[in-house]
Amino acid sequence: MTKNPKNLKIPKQAARQYPKPPEGSWTEHCPELDTDPISYENSISPEFFELEREAVFKRAWLNVGRVEQLRRKGSFFTKEIPGLKTSLIIVRGKDDKIRAFHNVCRHRGNKLVWNDHPAEEVSGTCRQFACKYHGWTYDLEGKLNFILQEGEFFGIDKADYPLVSVHCDVWKGFIFVNFAEQPEKSLDEFLGPMITAIDYPFEKLTQRYYYRGDIRSNWKIFHDAFQEFYHPPILHGHQNPVMRQADYKDQGFYTSHFQVDGPHRVGSTSGGAGGKLIPEFYNPIEQVMRSGLFGPWDPSEIVGDELPAGLNPGNKDNWGLDSFQIFPNFAIVFWETGWYLTYHYWPVAHDRLLFEANAYFTPPRNVRERLAQQLGIATIKEYALEDCGTLEATQMGLESRVVTSFPLGDQEFMCRHLNKMINNWVDDYKRSRAEG
């Protein structure tokens, strides 16, 4: 482990404004990382993808939704997990406990809950689940209740054929599942102190907008664009007069704080200063709607004198947002005006992902608040689609294998950390399999 001989050269003002840790960089501050160029073989190899499914997606806790999607006893939704070629039923039982089951009938393997199109997700409320094929029926706790012509089956005991359950637990209203036979850690242990310190009034932000995209890039390549703030002034620079400022175009953008805890990480920035600059910095629609990329300019009712516990972990002045990356594929972004975004990056194949973005606001009290939210979420699409196109291009560039080693800057700390964590989990899985 030799120290990188090429020390960073930060302009004096930026060095004052965005101080680095004592080691000289965020990257060197993290004992698990080095400063060498990295490989993206893990994002273009079908063989690696097969390993990653087993090593990461069948071992980590995965967020599949929120409790507000299951308001009553018997409320359910199905969740497709394309990379694992499986579908889940998430249901609130008569005892109010939330459970997860594989969405497969024990009789002949038919997908149990779906409507019209077998691959599409559905939601609703019911008392039991009945298979469309032969009518076998399961209760909300997954127990097989009814077999048509039961006497025709050889020595069958219904108790032997419950739905196949999946480990399921809830943190702050976020429903997580774990596909391991026995998870190595409880959900709270897995999330660790940095994430579980977050005490945010999620239950008050029930106004939900849900985007979904089908994109031809590896899930990590796509994820990386949403965990560095190095690209926005360039890739998205035309969109927003704020980003057209000479400051960002010529000098780039600095993240004010990075932190990791286990496989999870956070980056904090000064956000977008929505509405605080002179009008010329905003597009006309932003001035009318008092909103933009960074959401509504006016704080929502949850914004008080103090930030919720766990936010702004670096205790920085001019805090604007925290972008928490919960391993492996889930992110929560908290904004200073009192709303939050989640991102999910679901692998489909080594070169394809399903991208989900949810925006959550407090219910608008009037049309003005409603429109401010609408412009915020519309802007997300203008930016996200630029990322989508570009990351398909990145995937193509990587797959050429013309270049195999890529230098990452200190602003791309979180990309380097994800890459390292994935490789660690896969190495660990290969080791445990070899030891058998």
């Binding site: 907008y209 985007y211 979904r212 409603r370 630029e386 196109g389």
Partner: protein, 111 residues
């Protein structure tokens, strides 16, 4: 005026109701991609100067119980938001460099 499409103050915008009052983001985005810049610009030029006035009018009404004419006016504002990007930023209906990627709003609140 029982069958007026919009509140009387905004009757000048009625010619836009048929094409631009749409129920969902995917419909609005499809409308954006299938329209010429001239059509988008005409809609923008008609609605943008009235936007603040429309917001002030709608703000006096209960959001969860809007009369039909007011709801149509609100839907015109939703379309204005999506059409502002071609006019104010891109100078073309579609976002440059986005290839074949799809990204659509699947769940959105009503109204």
């Amino acid at each position: 005026m029982a069958d007026a499409l919009l509140p009387p103050e905004f009757s000048a915008l009625e010619p836009f109701v048929e094409d631009w009052c749409l129920d969902s983001e995917p419909e609005r985005y499809a409308k954006r991609l299938s329209s010429s810049m001239d059509e988008i610009q005409e809609f923008y030029d008609a609605t943008m100067p009235r936007a603040e006035e429309a917001i002030q009018y709608l703000d006096k009404l209960p959001l969860d119980d809007l009369p039909e004419d007011a709801f149509r006016l609100l839907k015109l504002l939703y379309s204005l938001i999506l059409m502002s990007f071609p006019v104010e930023i891109w100078k073309q209906p579609y976002i440059p460099d986005t290839g074949t990627a799809e990204f659509a709003l699947k769940i959105e609140p009503v109204p």
